[in-house]
Symmetry: C2
Subunit: 354 residues, 2 copies
């Protein structure tokens, strides 16, 4: 359990007995917590009349300003941590935006960190959250996160919700897309257009997402009775740059596939750029599918056929279930899979045999 200090009395200039939060004052007066906070610090940013009203009300109900002292006596700090492996991927930016929209509604402050799939960085951030007395954490766990890391966080009193990736053995809610189903949709779409030689580019079997997306492709090929040659699998790429760089090796294959199922939209857009750089026309000479349906997919050249991955739903639902936990609700520590959808655009067509 998180250490709790029950101190009644005076420490320096701070009384430590009351359980009053900024939001209590904010709600009573119909102003934002930020305004309350600024007013209590005599900020010139708050109009005189408002400042007076806030300070009077605070005095009346016995509020003492100082969250650091305050956090010694209440169990809620108003802080939620969010840690993901790659803020640079717009997939996460879209998730973060919907998390933030939810948290804003309940006046939580949102602190963000990037762990770059380094366990040490993830632990340092969580450690900081624990030390700050944060209320909860939403995380896309770093590759190799052991379930005891998640358990430790929970045991220290920090409710946790996972997004995008699951950790086997961690008994907390997980929100992610149904990845195997999603790449199945993309692969079946290519098969229905007449493609029989289909590669899969990008992703890693070190994550649940990577394993599931690959499995969806393998299953769809198998069901259609199509062979998968080992050289058609290009594991690794997760960025545009990596997708662009793999194009050379992909186009140099002897029995060149006519289509590629890509790990995500970034890899797909990078690959299409690489195909174009080689003088071929993506969507005509080679069909390409993405995954995520980023805002950018619709405006790519050609517009990208991709799998909508429900990132806004993931963010909204993760934030809501965390807030429910903070409000004392029992929640189901299970995985919720959001059903993806195929969005067909210009980057896929009938195979061109040469």
């Amino acid at each position: 359990m998180r250490p709790v200090v029950k101190a009644i009395g005076t420490l320096g200039e701070f009384r430590l007995a009351q359980k009053i939060k900024l939001s209590t004052i904010a709600e009573a007066l119909g102003v934002s917590t930020a305004t309350v906070s600024l007013a209590l610090r005599d900020s010139p940013l708050v109009a005189d009349a408002t400042r007076q009203r806030i300070k009077e009300h605070a005095r009346e109900i016995g509020y003492i300003y100082n969250r650091r002292a305050a956090s010694l006596r209440t169990s809620r700090s108003g802080i939620i941590g969010v840690v993901v492996h790659d803020i640079m991927n717009p997939f996460f930016a879209e998730i973060l935006r919907s998390i933030e929209t939810e948290l804003d509604r309940s006046r939580q402050t949102f602190l963000l960190s990037n762990h770059y799939d380094q366990l040490e960085k993830q632990r340092t951030f969580i450690d900081t959250l624990l030390q700050l007395g944060a209320d909860g954490v939403i995380m896309s766990p770093a590759i190799g996160t052991p379930p005891q890391d998640i358990r430790l966080v929970e045991e220290n009193g920090l409710p946790t919700v996972l997004i995008a990736r699951s950790v086997e053995g961690a008994r907390v809610p997980v929100f992610r897309g149904d990845d195997a189903y999603g790449t199945g949709l993309a692969t079946n779409h290519l098969i229905s257009l007449g493609h029989t030689r289909i590669a899969m580019i990008g992703g890693t079997d070190q994550t649940s997402t990577g394993r599931d997306r690959y499995q969806g492709y393998v299953d769809a090929m198998g069901k259609a009775g199509l062979e998968i040659k080992p050289q058609w699998r290009f594991p690794g790429p997760r960025t545009k740059q990596a997708g662009f760089e793999i194009a050379g090796a992909f186009l140099a294959l002897k029995d060149k596939p006519t289509a590629a199922v890509c790990w995500n939209d970034l890899v797909a857009i990078g690959l299409m750029n690489g195909i174009a750089r080689a003088g071929l026309v993506p969507g005509v000479d080679i069909s390409v599918t993405g995954y995520d349906d980023l805002e950018e997919a619709a405006i790519a050249t050609p517009a990208l056929t991709t799998v909508w991955n429900g990132q806004r739903d993931v963010g909204r639902r993760a934030a809501r279930v965390l807030l429910d936990r903070l409000n004392g609700a029992e929640v189901n520590p299970a995985q919720e899979l959001i059903k993806p959808e195929l969005h067909v655009r210009q980057s896929t067509g009938k195979p061109v045999e040469r």
Copy 2:
């Protein structure tokens, strides 16, 4: 000034007299602060022998675990806040990565937030930092940030460094590129290729960056004796989506420009996609320049001619000067302009008259 409590004695289970930080123990034993922190919480993640060693050393030197209590008695929390207007722009992701690399070296924890150019959000985050006892803040100030907001932050004991944008009247260090010089480079490059009808697309005159980039274009056109028609200025776009959407209006101009100087790489790439969608070839029918030289610029179709904006330098130098301030150094509260460079690629060529 930030309130400081000088309390000697015992508060609940915490002694409040010592000035010892996790990093003191970490350095003494040659382990990370995260390991020290986990060990002091009896985390199973730390090997038994290491945990024992750390706890013994901590006891010997009189360290008491609990940063919340600790922050009442020391002036350093080890936390640096970073707030920008748009994490989704890879320009910031590249800056953030270099800030983080610097802060990692001095074992600072990095808390990130997005203000989306909303003053209220920026204030709430800074307020949270103040209440957490953060050591400093690096910010790309929201549009409309009054200088007294920055002064208030400084007066509350939170050293501030600005990146990307300046705020007139705020006496703090600012690191940004020399934006007028940069768009001058791009515009002169187009002029030297023979273009005389050159548009400028994107950006806003509400920011120093927007004003300076527009001025650089205006000055270069003026020096070359070229006219600027009002309809050649498309203010606003800052994203790929917006660059893509403006293509229709741009291509429909009666005296259509043969080239466009774009506000940033995202707008330029979006515009090129829009030009391609209209059946024209960017880099041949219309020359396009970007700004920032994002990783993505080199792999775009066509590869983007753009202005390198020194974002890694901006991040590294901002972090260093903030750390210097924390270490008590006097720093010059002036603006440092990083000199941009033109990187010529495939998206610019001689004008094609129709």
